[in-house]
Symmetry: C2
Subunit: 149 residues, 2 copies
DNA sequence: GTTTCATGTAACTTATTTAGTTACGAATTT
DNA sequence: AAATTCGTAACTAAATAAGTTACATGAAAC
């Protein structure tokens, strides 16, 4: 898993979970989808469990599955549960007392608040089911192509 | 300059430039505002020069200044000139051939395109002059407070 | 025209961050 | 009881970005 691909990797895993026939998959199976190891997966999606997006079970036969229907899981919820902002630009003071810096921070903090609201609003309109449907379209298209050739 | 503070540090410098009486300031002076060194400053704002936001002059008496009135310099332009996206989440393929990944990338790329448009639209409405005006308000307020106390 | 000063930029070093790994306890099924 | 899987802490390794050094280029001062 590369540097800024936490979101895309998580979605990758979640769509595989949405499409999984078996239902439960181990963190090792999930890890193989994104070419990493099980601990990284468990750590990455721990927040999704706390948010009630996925459910995990320990012990023999344990593993992970979606906690609800993919139609009810929006990307906004996933982003929030991952605990990583989409807009990582910093506004931490580095020159306490500098009024110029304070003015800069004020405008950027305002921007961030409004921007995050807008972005989450957009992401709230896309669900895991939407991505899964697109996957199926691609799969079907590929199948047809194969038959045609 | 900390990890994700390229934007805030650059704005910090630019507002100082907008407020500078002398006009020209050396990269060493600019660097002192953000507690770093001149090479980092020159490297960071090189893109702003190419974009015609600031102008630099070499040699004795050389240095940096705004290339235009701060009223005409929007944060959108600055962000673009910095050459760093506000939304650094990755959508690079890591499992070529995986249709699930392709569906994920498609939705995220669409989102990014629309989101960046929205964000730049918001930032286009804020200029360096706006931040400078806020700085002056803060400065005046502090002055009054000091007198009052 | 030589000295001084400042930028422009490449190459290298250091620091920071994050992914990856190891290890092991807790929980659950067979 | 044995096997399996998660949960998590602690550590290691790799990647990234800032910081630094070095020096060529260009411009003003003398």
């Amino acid at each position: 898993m590369k540097r800024n691909s936490k979101l895309s990797s998580t979605l990758h895993i979640l769509v595989h979970m949405a499409e999984a026939r078996e239902g439960i998959q181990t963190s090792e199976q999930l890890a193989s989808f994104i070419h990493t190891n099980p601990v990284v997966v468990r750590r990455t999606i721990a927040g999704l469990r706390e948010a009630g997006i996925v459910a995990s079970a320990r012990g023999h036969g344990g593993g992970w599955q979606l906690a609800r229907a993919p139609e009810t899981i929006s990307l906004a919820e996933i982003c929030t549960a991952l605990g990583e902002t989409l807009l990582p630009f910093s506004t931490a003071p580095e020159s306490p007392g500098c009024l110029v810096e304070q003015a800069v921070i004020a405008v950027l903090d305002d921007f961030r608040a409004e921007a995050e609201r807008l972005l989450l609003q957009k992401l709230a309109r896309v669900t895991l089911a939407d991505i899964a449907a697109d996957f199926r379209r691609r799969y079907a298209a590929l199948g047809v192509t194969d038959h045609a050739v």
